[in-house]
């Protein structure tokens, strides 16, 4: 959050205003309570033991292997979902007939929580990878579709007129005006899709997973290993953060012309 310069300079001098302070304090209190035995290890492991478990899980290859399995699910689901979302949004956004055909279906789909489709998906696809990826894809599709569709519809008609007055045909209009104009909206949709796909990953991995972060968590639950559970929660959080940073990086590269970035 930007602060006026005078406020920022006082901030630098006053360590009690540091934003790191309260999380750090929380960790210390948490550690202290665990060491004193107020919080037993089977309720919540101490930060220090979470740290050593993390190192050990990385060393043994447990974490990398299962993380790779989870990543594959999330990425495949996201790619499939985003691709379908982009295709539908293009078809609906660029052609009136496409809109009449596709948009009602998507709006119907929107009213059904994806989680509620799990039983059907399990009947159709079994309890293997397909169901997990399908759930993630199905959930990730929606924000991509909705944002890109709105972005295409929201492209400035005055710019369209100008481009047409310079003799651009339909294909050139779409390439030069509609798609670049809708790109910011697409990236917003992609960011939502990313966080939703992590969310759906967590949910889908509760379904009888035999590998992946969810599998690690389920096993840890049975063994009351709260340290492993916390490690996995950290990794989930990290996944979300990384995805967000990725889309931000794409945004700064492709949206260099945007007013917010141009002024900066």
């Amino acid at each position: 959050m930007p602060l006026p310069t005078h406020a920022r300079s006082t901030l630098r001098r006053d360590p009690l205003q540091s934003r790191w302070l309260s999380p750090l304090l929380l960790l210390l209190v948490w550690e202290g309570l665990c060491r004193l035995g107020v919080i037993p290890a089977h309720t919540l492991a101490a930060p220090s033991s979470v740290g050593s478990t993390l190192a050990q899980m990385i060393g043994s290859g447990d974490l990398p292997i299962n993380l790779a399995v989870s990543l594959r699910r999330a990425i495949l689901g996201l790619i499939i979902g985003a691709t379908v979302g982009v295709a539908l949004a293009l078809a609906a956004g660029l052609a009136r007939r496409g809109d009449a055909w596709i948009d009602p279906l998507v709006q119907v789909k929107r009213t059904i929580p994806v989680v509620a489709l799990t039983p059907l998906f399990i009947i159709w696809f079994g309890i293997g990878e397909t169901t997990k990826i399908a759930l993630i894809a199905f959930a990730a599709m929606l924000p991509v579709y909705i944002n890109l569709h709105a972005g295409i519809r929201g492209v400035d008609v005055r710019l369209m007129d100008a481009a047409r007055s310079f003799g651009l045909g339909r294909a050139a209009l779409i390439r030069e005006v509609v798609l670049p104009g809708a790109l910011p909206a697409l990236l917003t949709g992609l960011r939502y899709a990313l966080s939703i796909s992590v969310l759906m990953l967590v949910f889908a991995e509760q379904i009888n997973a035999s590998a992946g972060l969810g599998y690690l968590i389920n096993n840890a639950r049975d063994a009351m290993r709260t340290d492993i559970i916390v490690v996995c929660l950290l990794v989930y959080a990290l996944l979300g953060l990384t995805g967000d940073a990725l889309v931000r990086a794409i945004e700064t590269r492709t949206l260099a012309w945007c007013p917010a970035l141009v002024e900066a």
């Binding site: 100008a162 481009a163 007055s165 310079f166 030069e176 012309w257």
Partner: protein, 259 residues
């Protein structure tokens, strides 16, 4: 009809007209019950500088869109040249393309960039060719828009109130620029404007549009630069056609009369 077109002050016989580049005959347009263009006739000769005055809602925008062929074609007697270009009031540069790419928009061939650069040089924007449009000032954006129109070497150049949003000093510079460019390239030029002074300073011929018809037409035979003597009466005539009766008053005295 011709009687209505003549002003009582300046009756000038038409010179033998060359084949016009623009010819509209009895062109009408209506949106629902609202008649926007009402059997309008308009001819523009090659290389002629025409200014079109009109109040808001007089049909200027629709006429301009007709001339730019932006509205779906209808069964009307309209002849337009093949190469046209438009400069809009808001420059309408694509914000995601650099300035030179905007100028080169829709150009074909390998020489698109050098042509765009040459056009930008000509409007005095050579130092901003790689800038993003949103970083341009209003005057710079309008220069880029003019370069974008010019680079097509149009037979018909349409200017839709291109100076309306600029400050007075920038506007004067732009007037001079447009005039110089017109004299060098000689497209037929239609300038749509609210500004009577602007019209009188720049154009060969001034038209007044009202309720979808051309209700007045004035030729300015005096060369640009020595029009001081005629503008006073002409301004009064044109303003009267726009619905303001000022007699011979200067603008400074005008508001009090209408208060």
């Amino acid at each position: 009809m011709t009687e209505a077109l003549r002003s009582p002050l300046q009756i000038v016989p038409d010179p033998l007209p060359p084949e016009p580049v623009v010819r509209l005959r009895d062109v009408s347009r209506a949106f629902g019950a609202t008649v926007v263009l009402d059997s309008l006739n308009l001819s523009i000769a090659p290389g002629e500088f025409v200014a079109l005055l009109g109040r808001s809602g007089s049909g200027k925008t629709t006429l301009l869109r007709t001339l730019a062929a932006l509205d779906p074609p209808q069964a009307q007697d309209i002849r337009l040249p093949g190469s046209r270009a438009t400069v809009f009031q808001d420059a309408r540069l694509l914000p995601w393309k650099r300035v030179w790419q905007n100028v080169a928009l829709g150009l074909r061939g390998r020489d698109a960039r050098p042509r765009a650069l040459a056009a930008l040089e000509e409007v005095g924007l050579a130092h901003r060719v790689d800038a993003w449009p949103l970083t341009l000032s209003g005057g710079e954006a309008q220069r880029a828009a003019i370069a974008r129109a010019l680079v097509r070497e149009p037979e018909l150049l349409l200017l839709d109130e291109p100076f309306a949003a600029l400050d007075a000093l920038t506007r004067m510079k732009m007037h001079a620029l447009v005039l110089a460019l017109w004299q060098r390239h000689r497209p037929a030029l239609l300038l749509v404007t609210h500004d009577v002074e602007e019209a009188m300073a720049l154009a060969d011929r001034v038209l007044v549009l009202d309720r979808g018809r051309i209700v007045a037409e004035e030729r300015l035979l005096a060369p640009r630069g020595s029009r001081g003597a005629i503008v006073r009466d002409l301004r009064a005539t044109l303003l009267r056609h726009l619905g303001i009766d000022v007699g011979g008053a200067a603008y400074a005295d005008l508001l009090e009369r209408h208060a």
